[in-house]
Symmetry: C2
Subunit: 292 residues, 2 copies
Amino acid sequence: MADVLPPDDSLAIICGGGSFPAAVADAVARRGRRPVMFGIKGWADAAVIERYAHHWIAIGHAGRFFRLARTEHCRDVLFIGTVLRPPLSALRLDWQTIKLMPRVIRFFRGGDDKLLSGVAGVAETGGLRVVGVKDVAPEIFVPQGVLGRHAPTERDRADIARALTVIGALGPFDVGQAAIVADNNVLAVEAAEGTDNMLMRIAELRKLGRVTSPLGAGVLVKAPKSGQDRRFDLPSIGPRTIENIARAGLAGLAVTAGSTMIAEADQAIAAADRAGIFLVGVSEDAREERAR
Amino acid sequence: MADVLPPDDSLAIICGGGSFPAAVADAVARRGRRPVMFGIKGWADAAVIERYAHHWIAIGHAGRFFRLARTEHCRDVLFIGTVLRPPLSALRLDWQTIKLMPRVIRFFRGGDDKLLSGVAGVAETGGLRVVGVKDVAPEIFVPQGVLGRHAPTERDRADIARALTVIGALGPFDVGQAAIVADNNVLAVEAAEGTDNMLMRIAELRKLGRVTSPLGAGVLVKAPKSGQDRRFDLPSIGPRTIENIARAGLAGLAVTAGSTMIAEADQAIAAADRAGIFLVGVSEDAREERAR
């Protein structure tokens, strides 16, 4: 389908792992714009990449990417999918990247935010404009309000507010995008481990008797870090998140509306309904008043 | 030894698990005061409790405890050792505790700090004064400066400052007392899982290639929560902490001087020396300037 779209304003999509690259490309094509997939070797899924015009690239090969993007008539570039910070020693750099090394080194220090804004800066030196998912496929974001059959209780709402406040307090440190709060207790704060790992930890602690809030109490909340460049690495959820919430024995999941992406929304909502779990899009302003 | 000490100002020590109850009792006895151990059933170690005058108590048996403390000439009471928040359903309550239930219920909501100040309030209704380890055994705290052979580098010092700032930012939420920072990246924030679990997580993430800071970079920092009542649940370390830091591939461990307890200090320092790990007591003021 995408190959019949006009090539004159194609969108370069640099694709990491996971199912979001496909969801974004589909949405972009549906809106009548031609996606050109640049799969990052070792991360992107060939089955996803090969559905559209595509090339394979490696981290550190900025020069090759810029040439290909020009040939493909791309003026905008979007980054989507999972790429974990590679060890510097694992990178093979081309000459254009090496010329950019002072910038590259800078973004390998500091948290992911710095890494990502560094990447954007490099893309811009190549004459491309970096766009966000919101600019090209806003339908991928969770909307405000309750999705599915179950709704949060008053107690859940209080836990959601507390978790949003905790994530907000960690914003300056470029830490995680998620926290788990049950009955006003902060049970977990996400950092390098990722959301699924954090949920599995709660499931294990519960088995060991170290999480004593009752089954079906507690919320997972995901929200972008306060200082985050929203063109990159937005919080995301999918059916797997719901499964892990069920294993952790929580009541539900709240995400910031309009800034959290949802993969396979229909399946995710169906899974939540089956498991008796709520799924709600909330405003970031729903955080609690800072009581200090 | 303790039984020859004068009983007229005995110290009631309510003992949870771990090795700190023994360390505190030994220090108290060395200073010429008679410790009376109140081992919490299911948590305290009999081998530790039975070295001194002792009784076994259960959580929820406040009446029995007050009677015994009076008989044993205790005016002061100290809480030491590990007791995880029990599920309410697991408690058996005596009449005096039931009369105190409105307070008890209040401290089963909210984080550990509230739980603990609640317990202190209950103890005070029984006519006892709650004292902290610092009042009776200050030698159990890590002093300021480098312990052992290895010292933190400049980069380690910067990571220590960042971790202290993160822990400080979480103070209002009664979350953890520890964080791991490597090369300015916050890798982990402790909540319900505890320090050893958090360190094991970093070891696992490293095996999976998801912690890419080089081996021997990164620090574990422990500090009391900012709003914490220092009579309870202070951060603590011991030889096991050192072993887990080595497994996680970090450079070392920094704790707040004068407010972090160390168990088996000689073994812990020897283990750190062998593993090439630094162990340093820092001022809480060593946190970084808040850059917002």
